[in-house]
Symmetry: C2
Subunit: 252 residues, 2 copies
DNA sequence: CAGTGGTCTAGACCACAAA
DNA sequence: TTGTGGTCTAGACCACTGC
């Protein structure tokens, strides 16, 4: 008698599934209000904690957002396209535009909270740049915003050997950005390698990027190399996963 | 008197933060047991629901996993490297190896639950392949495993016009896989474009990939084009975000 | 069998949003 | 002011792990 009544999913999952299919089927769409805690309690005859647990599933999946005092709403996904190879082409920074402007449809990216410092290289940075551990590097940290929405955090590391004391170590790097400055030194980046990981954000990142619960971030680690394959920059970027689509084109 | 005691974070967040820093500082490392519900209740003098809420934060961040009847443990991250351009080079499938073998350090990938069918193309597939809406396509779905761990789901679409009735529409496509078959037809893939998105998995994907809570997935949408820029395959892949690092190399 | 995490109830007080 | 979501307590029963 005892245990043959097994494997029926818990109530809160079934409630979540009902709401999820209502969204997937289009019965509820972007920005629509979904049944709140009180609605679910009445409709399913469950306690408040159970209704909340059902909603928390959907919130952690990133498909709805809760707004205190107002309700729970279907979340939209309207990403920006970040084109790998094209955006780093010489034409862009050769013409006096900073590379990140290639992301933006209308060039309205803004940069924010810039911090420049000379520091000893962390181990993974030293490895990427081919330097000795703790070798001096210039670190540039900044945040990018588009129409007041924070989109990306970025931290660049360049060997202090050639970056210290130049415009690269200034908050404002001048037309074309650091790549143009490198080119003037005869260290123009010619090859790039990007490494992409996914994870959930730390609380600090969630705050800095204004992320909703259930939004993963993309880590993009880029190493820029000269024609002679000397590493000249290591850039560690953290992107709002709900804001970006990455694109890479290549040949067989 | 009333409200000047504001903005202190809720208890459950502070507990979560304590555990998080214990992990970040290295006091707790991969696979270590972290304080469980009962431990936290005693240490912080909170109710069980509060201790659980603190743990649920960390679980949804993907940094710990809960094992029923046992405890809560620090989660490891040991990803596979998936190298974009290199893995699709002609050498690989020209030599009779399927491309996904490039992912695997020792070639021990296995394929699973293969489904082949001829279906009308969904709108986004038709667009990617340059076909009319609802045009007939061959759909190939499969799951990839490495040492019994499911790593990736993939669904390929090829125009039925040249794929139907060939080995491409069979579960076993022969040496070199579908790309070798395409090459024999004079439709060898020469250009690729990959589009990458991140999101939290659906419950079905979480089950199929054996994902822990708090693990995002990577969607990789690849279009393969011939030398003449005719689209011959559209491949929709869903990767376990905790299992992969993607790498792309390109030139300025 | 004792201990763990998983689910669920029935309350409580709070901060915030919208009417 | 009413209703919403956010936090928290104090219980309960269950399924599973590991000794």
């Amino acid at each position: 008698m005892p245990t043959s009544e097994n494997d029926s999913p818990p109530v809160y999952r079934e409630i979540a599934e009902d709401v999820r299919t209502a969204i997937a089927s289009g019965r509820l769409s972007d920005g629509d209000r979904v049944p709140g805690e009180n609605d679910l309690m009445k409709q399913y005859g469950v306690a408040r904690a159970t209704a909340r647990q059902a909603l928390s599933v959907l919130i952690n999946e990133g498909i709805v957002v809760a707004i205190r005092g107002s309700g729970v709403y279907v979340r939209a996904f309207r990403p920006l396209r970040r084109h790998g190879p094209r955006r780093l082409s010489r034409e862009l920074w050769g013409a006096g535009r900073a590379i990140w402007q290639a992301d933006s449809p209308d060039g309205s990216f803004e940069t924010d909270s810039v911090e420049v410092a000379e520091v000893p290289a962390p181990a993974y940075v030293a490895r990427a740049l081919g330097l000795a551990d703790e070798a001096a590097v210039v670190r540039r940290h900044r945040r990018y915003r588009l129409e007041d929405r924070p989109m990306q955090l970025a931290t660049s590391y360049l060997p202090a050997e050639f970056a210290a004391g130049t415009a690269i170590a200034e908050p404002e790097t001048g037309p074309g950005g650091i790549y143009a400055r490198l080119a003037e030194q005869g260290r123009a980046p010619a090859h790039f390698t990007e490494e992409i990981r996914v994870r959930m954000p730390t609380p600090e990142e969630a705050a800095a990027l204004h992320l909703n619960a259930g939004t993963p971030v993309l880590d993009v680690l880029r190493t820029a190399l000269t024609e002679e394959h000397t590493a000249v920059e290591f850039n560690e970027m953290t992107l709002d996963g709900s804001a970006y689509v990455l694109q890479y084109d290549f040949d067989a």
